[in-house]
């Protein structure tokens, strides 16, 4: 079974840390939804089979879409694919959009999961991040979703925000864990080049959090979520039993997915491709029946690097038998040879043919993954 990702590239305002592709003008929403339908048809045969296990509306801000647009897209998807009856169907939402009325409207649609971008419950943080909601509104949004019948709710948090102290982060976690959600994604703030917050760091206008505190925050996150019954399954993802995000997991298991809409990425097992970062170009190209995408065919080494990277980020780890079956004995030897020093340094474990990073390992996972890569 494969996955479908749909990128909704609109946001009412831009958050200061975000480098996802989205436009602030809502001018092209209707044309874009039409075009996504056309792309779905044009690329009907992209995936190896027609069975779909997960659908994910990401952004940008999918919760800006009126119900009719979702209906239009679902109609096309269900017309082209066999969507599994237990399929996980998620949309990303911003708290300010999740009114009882809006949620009520969505009930007749096939959604069974919502991922709410909260980032922080602290109003000073939220202002600095140029978010559109307050902490109280975030709490209310989750309640609204619960009342509307969503029983698989995920929230996004960011830690290591400017000026944030360890205690402040602890407070955030306590609030988050007291809300009755099933899933938490918690990301260390990344200063993406070119974003407003990155510029403020470059000009030293804000006070950043040092590496040691970031590390402490991460350990606290693991500790608190663990005690609250959440299990970590990826570097930044935590879920109650049975509530892992199946869609996101498929990225880490190298399950094929098709990405539709501007800037969306697709993966068919051996090649990756991505649509242009431009709503206008996307619409005009697709209207001429051309897919405006760049494509990258992965060499065997690159497929191996891809595999190492995504599997080591998960708690399921890297299965060496699978590695050998896919890439051969040489790659297996290479991988085991290079992980050795990290096992000795107690940053990774190797048992039952699986390599897993522990918390110390996750904290330096980029270094470890780079070391295992074949170039």
């Amino acid at each position: 079974m494969s996955g479908i990702y749909i990128h909704i590239p609109f946001c009412k305002t831009k958050c200061s840390y975000c480098d996802f592709y989205s436009a602030v003008s809502a001018q092209y929403i209707s044309a874009l939804v039409d075009t996504i339908g056309r792309e779905l048809k044009l690329r009907e045969n992209y995936l190896p089979d027609k069975k779909i296990g997960t659908i994910y509306f990401g952004g940008g801000t999918p919760s800006l879409l009126e119900k009719k647009y979702f209906e239009q897209i679902f109609d096309t998807i269900y017309g082209l694919y066999q969507v599994d009856e237990n399929a996980e169907i998620t949309f990303e939402a911003n708290p300010d959009d999740l009114t009882p009325a809006y949620l009520e409207g969505l009930r007749s649609l096939p959604f069974n999961r919502v991922s709410i971008g909260i980032q922080s419950f602290d109003d000073a943080d939220l202002q600095r991040l140029n978010r559109r909601h307050t902490g109280a509104e975030a709490l209310q949004a989750v309640k609204n979703a619960q009342q509307a019948g969503f029983d698989n709710i995920s929230i996004d948090l960011i830690y290591g925000l400017p000026y944030q102290a360890l205690q402040a982060w602890e407070k955030q976690l306590d609030t988050a864990l007291g809300m009755g959600v099933q899933h938490i994604s918690a990301y260390g703030l990344t200063y993406e080049e070119g974003t407003p917050i990155w510029k403020r760091r470059e000009s030293r206008e804000i006070q950043t959090v040092d590496d040691d505190t970031m590390t402490d925050m991460y350990r606290l996150l693991l500790d608190k979520t663990g005690k609250a019954g959440f299990k970590q399954y990826e570097i930044s993802n935590f879920a109650l039993q049975g509530c892992r995000s199946r869609h996101n997991s498929s990225y880490w298991k190298q399950i094929p997915y098709i990405g539709l809409g501007p800037s969306a990425h697709s993966f068919d097992g051996t090649s990756r491709q991505w649509n242009v970062n431009s709503i206008k170009e996307y619409i005009s190209e697709i209207s001429e029946n051309r897919i405006p995408a760049e494509r990258e065919e992965l060499s065997l080494s690159e497929q191996y690097n891809d595999f190492v990277m995504v599997s080591l980020r998960t708690t399921d780890g890297l299965n060496v038998c699978e590695l050998e079956a896919r890439f051969g004995a040489d790659f297996k030897r290479f991988c085991l040879q290079n992980i050795k020093t990290f096992i000795e340094a107690e940053k990774a474990d190797y048992s039952d043919n699986v390599i897993r990073l522990n918390t110390d390992g996750f904290l330096v996972s980029d270094m470890i993954i780079a070391e295992l890569m074949k170039v």
Binding site: L189, T190, D211, M214, S236, W252, S263, H265, A370, M373
Partner: protein, 595 residues
């Protein structure tokens, strides 16, 4: 023969020799329109890119004056002090020299040293004040300096510009009228002085010569007196922009010979060519062999590339006889070569050519000069390498090479320059005004103190105005010790250096600091220590990486992230693993970049 003029162009670096040569070639129509480009004689890629001359270049021009045809042989020379031996060879093939002086800069150190070389060989000097087109030219002041230096008349100095072509005709007149025609007897036994040789991948070694006496023809059986080897003169001719073959050449002429020689070692620059049948009884006075001044280990990053590196260095040597090498090995770096260079620029150029022309990625170790070590048994050892130093107990004394340096500067900077030179263990020998507010300072200094960064420092404290020239000036006893660097308690031989005892502690400290900057953080703490014998004199620690993690990695992030990490790994592969520590190439030259 009376219509031949042989001359070279000499000057301080960047005073415009090659540019003025362009104008002469253009004026005499030696270059076709299509061949014209700036500094056309600088034909090596590196010369063109850096805008400097590295090798001398000879070229022949024809010039008609008052109805007479003249043959003018021009040799453009390099200005950088590392290549001053090129100048001395060129001078030996000439009867006259254009001494170029930049009108915006005036007399500089190499102006003087090159002038003295030319005077020693009785060359007729034609002073040319260049760059007259520039707004900041100071013709009156520079004219005074030239008159002071040469004792000539103002009228003898030609004002010119390599940019506008001003003065070119006057220069050509002066060459014909002031420089004597070569002497020599075309019918005497053959004597040709070899003043240069180049390697051509298709033709083998091509030797450049000046015929002092006699006549040489194609097919003649000739002998190289110093090496004793005999060859057929397969081809000989004159040097235009390309080589132009001729049947015969006779006394006074400059030309080239191709005789099936394969390696540069077979040709000694300074040797004399004569006929086998009717040999000259005497060789012409040759040149002193060029001796390398600076030695450094050159190692392949990948130990498997050792043989490829040897092949590459051998090829470079074909064209660059001043480069020496012998195999050596290092605990830290494996097998490599100890190479001898004329100076730091030469070393940089060799390293760059290895990378560019042979795709050889190398590590160059801390350079040092060559020391004379006398043992208690009164043996003399030439030590080029810190690890070649015998046990301290066996050493009676060590002598290090000294230079005599000439520094020319505005008086404004005298104080700082004195401080710099004295800090480098210099001894002031003489100081005198050369004109108005300019002085020449003469220092005796250890060569080891100036090879690394002296020149850069001098330039920076004098805002680029001071110039510097030096020649070797014997050996003197010195208190030298070996400074070792340890990474995680393991000595890294490639980072050891020989240093004067007074400077050891400060150098050790600065090296540790610099290495801390250059070695990236790794998964363990890294201890960097400097030691003399068993005594640790400085220490720094590089803390282990605590955090290196990407927070988000979903569908759209994967390709970008993978490429980023692949790039990181590639970078690491270019580093050298020493024990458990990965050390980047540039760390081995850390000692050169200390402030």
């Amino acid at each position: 023969m009376k219509n031949i003029r042989n001359f070279c162009i000499i000057a301080h670096i960047d005073h415009g020799k090659s540019t003025l040569a362009d104008r002469l070639l253009e004026y005499t129509k030696t270059l076709a329109e299509k061949d014209i480009q700036a500094q056309v004689l600088d034909n090596m890629d590196l010369e063109r890119e850096r805008g400097i001359t590295i090798k001398s270049h000879a070229i022949q021009m024809n010039y008609n004056l008052h109805g007479e045809e003249y043959t003018l042989n021009l040799i453009d020379t390099p200005g950088h002090v590392d290549f001053s031996y090129e100048v001395s060879r060129s001078i030996a093939a000439c009867e006259g020299a254009l001494l170029i002086i930049d009108a915006t800069q005036g007399i500089q150190a190499q102006t003087i040293s090159n002038l003295y070389m030319a005077i020693e060989h009785d060359l007729e000097i034609i002073p040319v004040m260049n760059k007259m087109d520039m707004d900041n030219a100071m013709p009156e002041e520079v004219e005074d300096q030239i008159i002071d230096l040469l004792g000539c008349k103002p009228a003898d100095i030609i004002r010119a510009s390599g940019k506008t072509g001003m003065g070119v005709e006057e220069i050509l007149h002066a060459i014909v009228e002031r420089i004597p025609a070569p002497k020599g007897d075309p019918d005497a036994p053959l004597q040709c002085l070899i003043f240069d040789s180049v390697f051509n991948p298709f033709r083998g070694i091509i030797a450049y010569f000046k015929i002092v006496n006699g006549t040489m023809c194609k097919g003649d059986l000739v002998k190289f007196i110093a090496t004793g080897k005999e060859y057929d003169a397969d081809e000989l001719g004159i040097l235009k922009l390309d080589m132009v073959p001729k049947q015969c050449l006779s006394a006074g002429n400059v030309g080239y010979i191709i005789s099936g020689i394969k390696t540069s070692k077979e040709v000694k620059v300074g040797d004399t060519i004569t006929h086998v049948k009717r040999p000259a009884t005497e060789a012409i006075d040759g040149f002193e062999e060029v001796k390398p001044m600076v030695f450094a280990g050159v190692y392949p990053i990948d130990t498997e590339d050792f043989e490829d590196l040897r092949a590459a260095i051998e090829k470079l040597q074909l064209n660059d006889a001043s480069l020496t090498f012998e195999p050596e090995s290092s605990v830290a770096l494996g097998f490599g070569f100890r190479c001898g260079f004329l100076g730091m620029l030469h070393m940089e150029i060799v390293q760059e050519r290895l990378d560019r022309e042979f795709d050889m990625n190398v590590i160059t170790t801390v350079p040092n000069v060559s020391y004379k070590v006398y043992t208690k048994k009164d043996e003399l050892l030439e030590v080029h390498n810190p690890s070649g130093l015998p046990d301290i107990m066996a050493i009676d004394r060590i002598e290090e090479p000294y230079i005599r340096a000439s520094i020319i500067t505005k008086t404004d900077y005298i104080g700082q320059i004195m401080t710099l030179c004295l800090g480098k263990r210099g001894e002031l020998i003489k100081q005198e005004y050369i004109s108005g507010n300019r002085m020449e300072l003469i220092f005796d200094m250890p060569l080891g103190e100036i090879v690394f960064d002296f020149y850069d420092k001098l330039k920076s404290i004098s805002k680029g105005y001071a110039s510097f020239d030096y020649h070797m000036n014997g050996y003197r006893p010195s208190k030298l010790i070996k400074l070792d660097i340890l990474l995680n308690a393991e000595p890294v031989d490639a980072l050891s250096s020989l240093i004067h005892v007074d400077n050891a502690v400060s150098l050790g400290r600065r090296m540790c600091e610099k290495l801390k900057e250059l070695i990236p953080r790794q998964q363990f703490d890294i201890a960097i220590q400097a030691a003399i014998g068993a005594k640790i004199i400085a220490r720094e620690t590089i803390k282990a990486v605590r955090k290196d993690v990407t927070a988000k990695c979903y569908g759209g992030d994967i390709s970008r992230k993978r490429k980023l990490l692949e790039k990181q790994k590639k970078g690491k592969k270019r580093m050298k693993q020493i024990g458990s520590v990965e050390v980047p190439q540039k760390a081995f030259l850390a000692v050169l970049k200390l402030d």
